[in-house]
Amino acid sequence: MEAFLHQVLSGLATGGIYASLALALVMIYQSTNHINFAQGEMAMFSTYLAWALINAGMPYWWAFLLTVALSFVAGVVIERVIIRPVEDAPVLSVVTVFVALLVIFNSVAGWIFTYTIKTFPSPFPEQPLFGNRFISSHELGSIGITLVVLLALYLFFRFTPLGLAMRAAAQNPLSSRLAGIRVGWMLALGWGLAAGVGAIAGMLVAPVVYLEPNMMAGVLLYAFAAALVGGIDNPFGAVLGGFLVGILENIIGAYVIGTELKLTVALVLIIGVLLFKPAGMFGKVFVTRV
């Protein structure tokens, strides 16, 4: 029972990371109907940035904040420069551009920082907090940071004029434009936010999986699964999906098939959801008009 509880809690911790990345995916999907294949690699690159800053002697939390800010700017720039020309292009063009971004980030990270595996510091103490036996302090801290990020995003989208404008631009670009909202910039801001949230996910997962250019492949797959389980157009669904998928991954890994087939679990989950409930738990059901 104790082992089971431990699995669930550490699943909750990785689930928080999946939730963050899934949230980044949803943020872009909501406004453009694009699934960003490069989200994981962007997060990985941000994490390398943080690593470089920390190695240069910057305190962890300053590096953390600066990385999020830089990732935000990079996200905006990528949307403006690379994504905008293919905004209304057919799916294959868009997917090609995302794949191009994926390989560019991956190889440039390998180029600059080499492929040797690096350790990434955790800001939380080695000893478990409050003397508990079930959850390490990094896991607890990850869950905490995830929840803070979620709350901040919720408050931003719910209570600020900019958040309202961004939601409007995502929901009805044409009317928003008529109402004076600069839809293009709202999309760019969405990309920036997604990149920032992704960077946080990367920095939280790096102490667990270690820092190397391919570290996000598995995480991204689980984030996809999380977003789909919760409903890819629903931020709350995606977050809930993230926690659920994290727990599921741990329990299936520990008790059913072992850890070697973890990625296959994600594959089965993705295809299963797409087949039986394409809208996920909370997503909107889309109907194609002929």
Binding site: V86, P90, T96, A100, L267, L274, P278
Partner: protein, 353 residues
């Protein structure tokens, strides 16, 4: 892109009476003769490289049938390539089959897998399909390493297979023989692919890509065609995978990582989406560009891939094949019927909640 009857490159669809003009036949004969002569003119390492070009060309044709002609995006064809390769390796290693006999089995096996994967894929479009196939590509190495099938797959170690002998007492090296064998298979596959695409089936595939609703209204059984296309595409890829395994003489899970699938996707975009000849340009690209780029840095090939991809999407959406066709038309003075449109253009699509 204003009518359903234009294909991606803006060139007319394969029409009903496709008797090739004389110059095309002559050109083709010269090309094949050149391809046959090639292994006797270059070093044995180059023979191996060109052999892989032929293998990749078969994959890219298969992928192009699916993505270019039928509009279903796959980022997971490396998985089918892996299944074909493993089928060949296991049959040769464990059951002592001759190398040539493994090709039909690999092809059929992949056809079945592809068809089965194509069934759920029916419900997925665009990004979702790309996502599901991408997940397949990422998960594949783990599946191949799975310990309960290790007795066949050899686990992480993989399987080493022997190079086939030269038959009939021909006085050529095994490398040259294998190249000629691959070339023969390639010609067979391309003839099959060309026949498939030029007639009724090819028109049905393009119609489904350009306007699924209209295609169904015309009586095309879209669901059946789409899953069959997935199967056929996987069949091409599986045969190529088996050939690839025989040529490389080795299979291991990590040679079939997601990068391989991305490679194939890059190949069709560079070569030309929705064109048969594009398969060769794409295959030459993915075989030789990394070799040049490797000299700069280990990571360089992928960075160069990415930059090429972006450049092609923005500047040359019809790929090398489209560019060659355009240049050829200009040269013959056929006017500036520019290859327009973006890759994978789907007009008249509307989605509403």
């Amino acid at each position: 892109m204003n009518s359903v009857a234009t294909s991606i490159e803006g060139a007319p669809l394969p029409n009903a009476h496709p008797t090739a003009p004389a110059w095309k036949v002559i050109g083709l004969v010269v090309l094949v003769a050149g391809a046959v002569a090639l292994p006797f003119l270059v070093s044995s390492y180059r023979v191996f490289q060109f052999n892989m070009v032929l293998v990749y060309a078969i994959v890219l044709l298969g992928l192009n049938i699916l993505t270019g002609y039928n509009g279903q995006i796959s980022l997971g064809h490396g998985a089918f390539y892996a299944i074909g390769a493993y089928a060949a390796a296991i049959l040769m290693d464990q059951f002592g089959w001759p190398y040539w006999a493994t090709l039909p089995v690999a092809g059929l096996l992949c056809f079945v897998f592809g068809f089965l994967f194509g069934l759920p894929a029916l419900r997925l479009r665009g990004h979702y399909l790309a996502l599901a196939t991408f997940a397949l590509a990422v998960a594949m190495p783990q599946i191949l390493k799975y310990k309960h099938i290790e007795q066949w797959t050899g686990g992480v170690q993989g399987i080493v297979i022997l190079k086939p002998d030269v038959p009939f007492g021909l006085g050529i090296t095994p490398d040259q023989w294998l190249y000629l064998f691959t070339l023969a298979v390639l010609l067979l596959m391309f003839a099959a692919g060309w026949n498939l695409l030029r007639g009724r089936i090819g028109r049905a595939l393009v119609a489904i890509r350009d306007h699924p609703v209209a295609a169904e209204a015309m009586g095309v059984h879209a669901a059946l065609y789409k899953s069959l296309t997935f199967g056929v595409s996987a069949l091409f890829t599986g045969v190529a995978g088996a050939l690839g395994a025989i040529v490389v003489q080795f299979v291991a899970p990590d040679s079939f990582a997601a990068g391989l699938s991305i490679n194939f996707m890059i190949g069709i975009v560079i070569g030309g989406v929705g064109s048969i000849s594009g398969a060769f340009y794409g295959a030459l690209f993915i075989q030789f560009v990394p070799n040049f780029a490797d000299q700069i840095s280990k990571a360089a090939p992928w960075a160069i891939y990415g930059i090429f991809l972006l450049a092609f999407v923005y500047l040359m959406p019809t790929g090398v094949a489209g560019f060659v066709r355009l240049a050829w038309m200009r040269m013959r003075g056929a006017g500036g019927k520019a290859a327009s449109g973006r890759i994978g253009e789907v007009p008249g699509e509307e989605r509403t909640s």
